[in-house]
Every structure is written in structure tokens, then in C-alpha cells.
């Protein structure tokens, strides 16, 4: 698209973790996602923006197998994955959050976290050393998400921001390679979203690839390596922040809608 950029700026030097090719899905004649092709490169934060109803959440659902796609295919680390069920996607290393969180409401904060890193449901004997290691792993996640004193609180008893961070804590614990975050910052106060951005940056440092749906422009500017713009199911742009944010056509779609 932008031949004037250097490869670093367009991140073409980075390995392609996932490639979407012509993804599409309709609901009763309405194309919620329409022929979307894009690459998610390793260690890159892509922000997915677009008006409400643009198809952002649906795109996540197509990637993780929550919804079946009508057209297109997905390549993961160069391998084509044709039909994938959500738990298989998770095992490949794709972890996602939900716009409506979907916490394990009747379980404690700690159990919510444990559940996501336990891969096998088979009961197994844990040695004391393993248990201490696990405890430390959980402690660290709780600390990062400011949930340390909520360890034994039921998810349903948490306050709004704590719920958002529990959703994030589950994702950290799952130790995936690709994070798909569906509006994780919505409704958060500045202190909380700075904490969120801090966590995302730290994880990206360790090699995690992030695709995040976000409306708040401050956050979009603060975190994005790339911005993908979706409108009525179509991908209108997928480029560096400067290019996308300075495109008057996109701005009018984005702000005109509000």
C-alpha cells in the first residue's frame, strides 16, 4: 500500500504469525465480515478500529473458530488451518478476551486463572515444588493485574475494573502467542488503562503478538504499531498509525458515525 515506507516501518522484517486471506461471513444477507485479508506479524500490536457493528468482534470469532466462516482461509505460522474449533485454536496459542468478559463467575479469581493454564483436564498429582512454582506464577499475575487481595474472591463479586483485569489475567495465564483483545480498555479510568497498556507492552517485549479492538484514540495512539480499519465488514486500511490517522476519508467515517 505505502511504497514510501521503509521495511522497518511497515514491519515487513517481522515473521508472519497469522495471515487472513479473504475471510468472510454473512448473517442473513448482511456481510458482517467481507473479504478481509491481513497479516499479523510476530511481536506487533495491531489495533482494530471501526464504528460499532463494523464486524470487529465477528472477525475475532472467525479467527478463533467461534463462528464458521463462509469464505477465505487462515494461515498460522505458514500452515493452513482450515477448520478449527475454539479449543484447538487456544491450543495453537491464540487466546482471546470477550467484549462481555465471560468470566467464570462462580469461581474465585485464583481458580479463573488456574483454569486457563491447565491444558489437560486429567487429574494429576502435583509435587510440592510444582505447586510452589505455580503459586509464584499466579502471584505474579495477580500483582500485575492489581488483584492480589482478591485472590479468593468470586468473579461475580468483583468491581467493574477488577473484572476487566481478571479477564486479562486469564489471558496472561494462558501463555499464548497471539492475544486477541476485544475492547479491554472500555470504561476504564486512566490509571487502569495505563496499567493495561503497561501489561500489553511487557508482553509484547516477550514476543507476544497482539490484536486489540479499541475506540479510545489516546489508547490507539499509545499502543499501536499498526492500525487496521474496518467498516461494514470491509478492511479499509491496514497500515502504520501515521498513515491511517491522517487519512481524512477514514476520519470522516470514524467520527461521522458518532
Amino acid at each position: 500500500m505505502t511504497e514510501t515506507h521503509t521495511p522497518e516501518e511497515t514491519h515487513e522484517d517481522k515473521e508472519v504469525l497469522m495471515e487472513l486471506a479473504g475471510l468472510g461471513r454473512s448473517f442473513g444477507g448482511v456481510k458482517a465480515v467481507d473479504d478481509v485479508s491481513m497479516k499479523l506479524r510476530a511481536g506487533i500490536v495491531t489495533t482494530l478500529v471501526g464504528p460499532n457493528g463494523a464486524g470487529k468482534t465477528t472477525l475475532f470469532n472467525l479467527i478463533t473458530g467461534q463462528l464458521a466462516r463462509d469464505t477465505g482461509h487462515i494461515t498460522w505460522l505458514g500452515r493452513r488451518i482450515d477448520k478449527i474449533r475454539p479449543h484447538e485454536a487456544a491450543r495453537l496459542g491464540m487466546v482471546r478476551s470477550f467484549q462481555d468478559l465471560r468470566l467464570f463467575e462462580k469461581m474465585t479469581v485464583e481458580e479463573n486463572i488456574m483454569t486457563t493454564f491447565e491444558r489437560s483436564p486429567l487429574p494429576r498429582i502435583t509435587t510440592p515444588a510444582k505447586r510452589a512454582e505455580r503459586r509464584e506464577f499466579i502471584d505474579r499475575i495477580l500483582e500485575r493485574c492489581a488483584l492480589t487481595d482478591k485472590r479468593n474472591t468470586r468473579a461475580s463479586d468483583l468491581a467493574y475494573a477488577e473484572r476487566k483485569f481478571l479477564s486479562l489475567a486469564r489471558i496472561i495465564a494462558a501463555q499464548g502467542r497471539l492475544w486477541l483483545l476485544d475492547e479491554p480498555a472500555s470504561g476504564l479510568d486512566p490509571q487502569s488503562y495505563n496499567r493495561l497498556l503497561g501489561i500489553i507492552r511487557e508482553e509484547v517485549q516477550t514476543g507476544v503478538t497482539v490484536c486489540i479492538i479499541e475506540h479510545n484514540l489516546d489508547i490507539v495512539i499509545g499502543i499501536s504499531d499498526r492500525i487496521a480499519f474496518l467498516d461494514r465488514g470491509k478492511l479499509l486500511a491496514d497500515d502504520t498509525p501515521q498513515v491511517v490517522l491522517n487519512d481524512p476519508k477514514l476520519a470522516s467515517i470514524y467520527f461521522g458515525e458518532r
Binding site: Q66, R85, H87, A90, L103, F104, K106, E111, R119
Partner: protein
């Protein structure tokens, strides 16, 4: 009197086990089944059939009953995996009705309407256990083993996966849980232990027929779970004790007119259940709300 109490003890243990096994799938997997008596029944017929025709050794009848019930639970797993919530209740109701027909018609296996008669008592290392006072010990041991198994299951990672599925199936799947497999396995474990207790029950009574395995038994077991407290560990046992001893406790109230005792019993029973659900929807042991 001693036999009377021992008999009540056996029934309480048997129904506690049934309630625990149903509670496991209701409270932890969110599967509301009205077909639990089917697995109890298949276990009972399998145990009875083997004891009548081959051997009454507990080490044969109980495992056989467990296997048969577990395999049959796969039938119930098919609708579980396809439909949700209230639709599944209807699907399990259908299975219950089908099973009653099968129990009545499959004379070679179940003895038809007449049932299986003269089932020999179970034997343990060659010793026959037939007196209620010794049988009650067997059922208490079975109850303790069952409590232990489910305690371990619920607190293991298997139990966590199951509870996660109950709270949000899509989130559990998104974090790598194979929902259909986990649900199927939990149904099979639940059915296997219901089948095991069925085999014990058949050898205890020496006579079984379809009447013990009909819809009202399934409803009674579900009532025990709900009244005791769904999703709690003690609840199903408390529910079984309350629902089984209440009727006999009422008969001991001397001031009640003896001719009307049956009707009064039903009224107290029914009213008590309704009031409990109004004021303690979480059951006797449950946490009140939600």
C-alpha cells in the same frame, strides 16, 4: 426396629449416592438430567441379571453395572452436546420414557413387568451379605468411596474445567477446554456410579422391577439435589436424608389422626418443599441466593 433403621440407612446411602452423582453433572457441569433413574436401573438389572445367571461376587456385578451404565450414558451425551438448558431436560425426559418401555418389554434381561425375582445377595470374598445390618455397612463404605471420588474430581483440574464450562462454555472453549469430551466423561462417571449403586440395590432387595426406575425416581433424586443444595458437597446427602426420613418421621407424630396420616404426610412434604425453595432457593446447605 433394628432392621427398620438398617433398612432406612441402606436407602439413605443408596439415594445419597444417586444424589451425589446427579449433583455432579447438575451442579458442576450444568447438565439437568431427568434420566438419572435410567442409569440406576440399568445398573440394577445388570447386577441382578449377572447374579442370577453367573456369579453374585461384588467384584463382577458392580464393575459390570458400572460399565453398562457408563456406556449407556453416551446415549444421553449425544443430546447434551447438541442442545442446551431446557431442551436438554426434555431430551433426558425422552430417554427416561424410552428406558421404562425397554425395562418393561425386554423380558429376557429385565424379567418384564414382573421384574427379576430371587436375586442372590452380593458376596464379598465368598461371604454372602444379606442381613440389613451388615448390608448397611457395605452401602456406607460405597457412600464414603463415592464422596471421596467426587471430592477429588471437583477439586482437581478436571473439576475446575467442568465448573468453568458451567459458568461460560464459550470462554472455557476459548481457553482450550474440549467441552464435548469433558461433558461426556463427567456424564459417564456419574452414570457409572449410579449403575454401581443400582447393582447393590438389586442384591439388597433381591427383587427389582420397573417401578423403582421410573420418572418419579428421577424426579425424587433431582429434588434431593435441589433441596439439599445444588453444587454443594453435603447438599445431596442432606437432601436424601430429609426426603427419605421425613415421611417416616411424620408417622411418629402421635397426635395426628392415624386415618388421615397419608394425606397429612403429603401436605407437609409438599408445603415444606415449596416454602424451602421460596426462602432458601440455594437449598438447605446452599448459600441462599442465586
Amino acid at each position: 426396629m433394628e432392621n427398620y433403621l438398617a433398612n432406612l440407612g441402606v436407602l439413605i446411602c443408596v439415594y445419597s449416592i444417586l444424589a451425589i452423582t446427579l449433583n455432579f453433572i447438575m451442579g458442576y457441569a450444568g447438565i439437568f438430567s431427568l434420566a438419572h433413574a435410567v442409569f440406576f436401573g440399568f445398573g440394577a438389572y445388570t447386577g441382578g441379571f449377572i447374579a442370577l445367571n453367573y456369579t453374585s461376587s461384588m467384584f463382577v456385578t458392580l464393575p459390570a453395572a458400572m460399565v453398562v451404565s457408563a456406556v449407556l450414558s453416551l446415549l444421553l451425551a449425544i443430546p447434551t452436546l447438541r442442545v442446551r438448558g431446557e431442551y436438554f431436560v426434555a431430551a433426558s425426559l425422552g430417554l427416561q420414557i424410552l428406558a421404562v418401555t425397554l425395562f418393561t418389554e425386554w423380558k429376557g434381561f429385565t424379567g418384564g413387568i414382573g421384574g427379576l425375582v430371587g436375586i442372590p445377595p452380593v458376596s464379598l470374598f465368598g461371604t454372602e451379605i444379606f442381613r440389613p445390618t451388615s448390608f448397611v455397612i457395605v452401602t456406607i463404605v460405597a457412600l464414603i468411596v463415592t464422596i471421596g471420588i467426587f471430592h477429588l474430581l471437583v477439586h482437581s483440574n478436571f473439576g475446575r474445567s467442568l465448573r468453568a464450562i458451567r459458568d461460560s462454555e464459550s470462554a472455557a472453549a476459548a481457553f482450550g477446554k474440549n467441552v464435548p469430551v469433558i461433558k461426556t466423561v463427567s456424564l459417564a462417571i456419574s452414570a457409572a456410579l449410579a449403575g454401581m449403586v443400582g447393582a447393590l440395590y438389586a442384591s439388597y432387595l433381591a427383587f427389582i422391577n420397573v417401578e423403582s426406575f421410573m420418572l418419579d425416581t428421577s424426579v425424587l433424586i433431582m429434588a434431593m439435589v435441589i433441596i439439599g443444595g445444588t453444587g454443594t458437597q453435603l447438599g445431596p446427602i442432606v437432601g436424601a436424608i430429609v426426603l427419605l426420613s421425613l415421611p417416616s418421621a411424620i408417622t411418629y407424630l402421635n397426635f395426628l389422626p392415624q386415618s388421615e396420616i397419608g394425606a397429612i404426610q403429603q401436605i407437609i412434604y409438599g408445603a415444606g418443599m415449596t416454602l424451602l425453595m421460596l426462602f432458601r432457593p440455594g437449598g438447605i446447605v446452599g448459600s441462599g441466593g442465586k
